[in-house]
Amino acid sequence: MEGLFLSLFTFHFSLFMVPFSEEKLAKVQEIIARYPEGKQKSALLPVLHLAQEVHGWLSAETMDYVASLLQLEPIEVYEVATFYSMYNLKPVGKYMFEVCQTGPCMINGSDDIVDYIKQRLGIGVGETTPDGLFTLKTVECLGACGYAPMMQLGKHYKEHLTREKVDQIIEECRKQAGQLN
């Protein structure tokens, strides 16, 4: 019984927590060196970004690992991870469409873009397609108000969105995902 529990535990652990590669560990050291001696807590936001790159989200195990890397209490990591909107605390699709819906985007038709994406992907806001490819999220102003409507897709912005452009983006994502698999 105990053995089963233990193996389940390690299974769980290994699934959601991948220790950083050598390269990532070196990056962590480089980041810590930017701050005064003993102030490595300042590295927390950048290191959480690094951690999120691995799975696209932060599991409790991942956060505990980050805490151990920076010699912090786990709670210090949780309270930060839950404060900032860019840290995903649940798994998300491979491609996350984060559509801005604040005033300037709204007056340029962001509602229509959100509706269209919902219809195209068959999901609601906050949901992920069953194939795990797409998540739709609405977000607040991303500093692209002059190029509205817009969304964030990974590291980049997709601006001046139209229905046709949304079609293209979905197509490109599907193609890219197909090539990766």
């Binding site: 930017r34 701050y35 005064p36 102030k39 807590k41 300042s42 590295a43 927390l44 936001l45 950048p46 959480l48 970004h49 920076l70 210090e76 309270e79 930060v80 404060f83 900032y84 909107s85 860019m86 840290y87 819906q101 604040t102 005033g103 300037p104 709204m106 007056i107 340029n108 607040e140 102003c141 991303l142 500093g143 692209a144 108000c145 002059g146 190029y147 509205a148 964030q152 990974g154 590291k155 980049h156």
Partner: protein
């Protein structure tokens, strides 16, 4: 064509690279400051220039620098605020993306003036591609001797680091930014102590906006007095305006603060007029936090004078009939836009971004959002309008940081100038779902009803 001090070279091919930037006269300000000036002399030039903070509050930068505490043996820091998250504002992004070396040059000169050996750029996390651009510029500057140890033999050491935020408007507030830079939640601190005395890691710290720090370059190159001759009154130098909404040419413009609002909206050099030949209904001239103005009060002050794109003129009339320069986020609404809906999205924004420390802000922003949503959906009551007014008044001035005010002002101004539109929504719960109120009091805003 107005004077261009920041964006003059923005369209030079390859200006992002060190070679081109240097060939175009870049890093002259660092040479001048580090080789011929003392740190205090640099601060003095900034004072003379009349430069006011470009992050929103408009506080005189030279004065702010002179407040920096300098206790013996305690390191000081300059932090560049690149959190840019105020709806309508996207000018800092433009500077960093297209003229990264201008910011780095401004940072080196400013770090020298303030004695910051380690300077941080705190950039909003969503601008995920920009840190690479900045880090490359930093590496190039360092490889060419503008950063690192003993720069130009001056004895001054300086490193610049880029720190990414992770999605939180509140981290643009300087003390929240400092908390975030320390690896914590972005909860603003109670002031005093001010960052100038106790900032990041309890060390004296100056936090300045990207545009403010970039402006230090032309100030040093041309001298503070010359810089102060550009513009008008206490609005010296040039200002970046990010224009968006229903206009023909949205984008980032550099203006010298002597042009009228009308020229800015209608001339082809700037916004190019209202899109699709529509009429102008309203405008939020300085980022989502500042009061919205109906067209007539935007173009002319209550006294009937022309309104200009500068600090004084935009705020002429106070909140009763004026607005603010703020961050320079210029949001234009045409006759088809619904002020209630627009205000609702802004209220939702502030509710989303409240850090939750103070109850008036945490609860009040939520209530305002709900009430505005109801009115927008045709489910509002007349008494809701007064309730909204009451809530915003109870938030304003009763919170730790100015986010509370920033959430209250847009709601107050919308009711002040567009009360008839709110009432129409309540009286026409069906119709308001299918059509907009339209231009309404374009030429004649209602008098303020419940201001008392």
């Amino acid at each position: 064509m107005g004077v261009k001090l920041l964006l003059e070279k923005a369209h030079v091919e390859g200006i992002r690279s060190y070679e081109v930037y240097r060939r175009e006269g870049g890093y002259r300000a660092v040479e001048k400051a580090l080789k011929t000036m003392s740190p205090d002399a640099v601060t003095e030039e900034v004072k003379k220039s009349g430069l006011r903070g470009r992050g929103g509050a408009g506080f005189p930068s030279g004065m702010k620098w002179s407040f920096l505490a300098k206790p013996e043996g305690v390191p000081r820091h300059l932090v560049c605020n690149a959190d840019e998250s105020e709806p309508g504002t996207f000018k800092d992004r433009y500077l960093m993306e297209f003229l990264p070396h201008l910011l780095i040059e401004g940072l080196i000169v400013s770090s020298f003036a303030l004695g910051s050996n380690a300077t941080y750029i705190y950039i909003r996390g969503e601008y995920a591609w920009i840190p690479d651009i900045l880090e490359q510029a930093i590496a190039e500057a360092k490889a060419n001797g503008w950063l690192g140890k003993n720069i130009l033999g001056s004895g001054f050491d300086c490193e610049i680091y880029v720190q990414r935020g992770a999605g939180a408007y509140i981290c643009g507030e300087e003390t929240a930014l400092i908390e975030s830079l320390e690896g914590k939640r972005g909860n603003p601190r109670i002031k005093p102590p001010f960052p100038a005395v106790k900032g990041v890691w309890d060390r004296p710290t100056v936090v300045n906006n990207v545009e403010t720090l970039a402006a230090v370059v032309p100030i040093i190159n041309m001298g503070g007095e010359e810089y102060a001759k550009i513009g008008v009154g206490r609005s010296t130098g040039t200002k970046l305006i990010s224009a968006c909404g229903n206009i023909n040419k949205p984008g980032v413009y550099e203006i010298d603060m002597t042009i009228s609002v009308e020229e800015f909206i209608y001339s082809d050099e700037y916004c190019g007029g209202i899109k699709n030949g529509k009429r102008l209904k309203a405008c939020i001239p300085g980022g989502s936090s500042v009061p919205i103005l109906p067209a007539n009060l935007l173009l002319k002050t209550a006294k009937g004078e022309t309104r200009y794109m500068n600090y004084e003129s935009l705020s002429d009339g106070g909140f009763a009939t004026g607005s603010m320069m703020g961050s320079g986020g210029f949001i234009v609404l045409d006759e088809d836009q619904c002020v209630v809906k627009n205000t609702y999205t802004l209220a939702r924004f502030y509710r989303h971004e409240s850090c939750g420390q103070c109850s008036p802000c945490r609860e009040g922003t939520g209530w305002m959002e709900k009430i505005l949503k109801n009115i927008d959906m045709g489910k509002g009551k007349m008494s809701d309008i007064d309730l909204l007014w009451d809530i915003q008044r109870k938030i304003e001035g009763n919170t730790i940081c100015p986010l509370g005010d920033a959430a209250a002002w847009p709601v107050a101004a919308a009711i002040r100038h567009f009360r008839d539109e709110f009432e129409w929504h309540v009286k026409n719960p069906q119709e308001c779902l299918t059509r907009n109120y339209g231009l309404a009091n374009y030429a004649d805003p209602l008098e303020v009803k419940s201001e008392m």
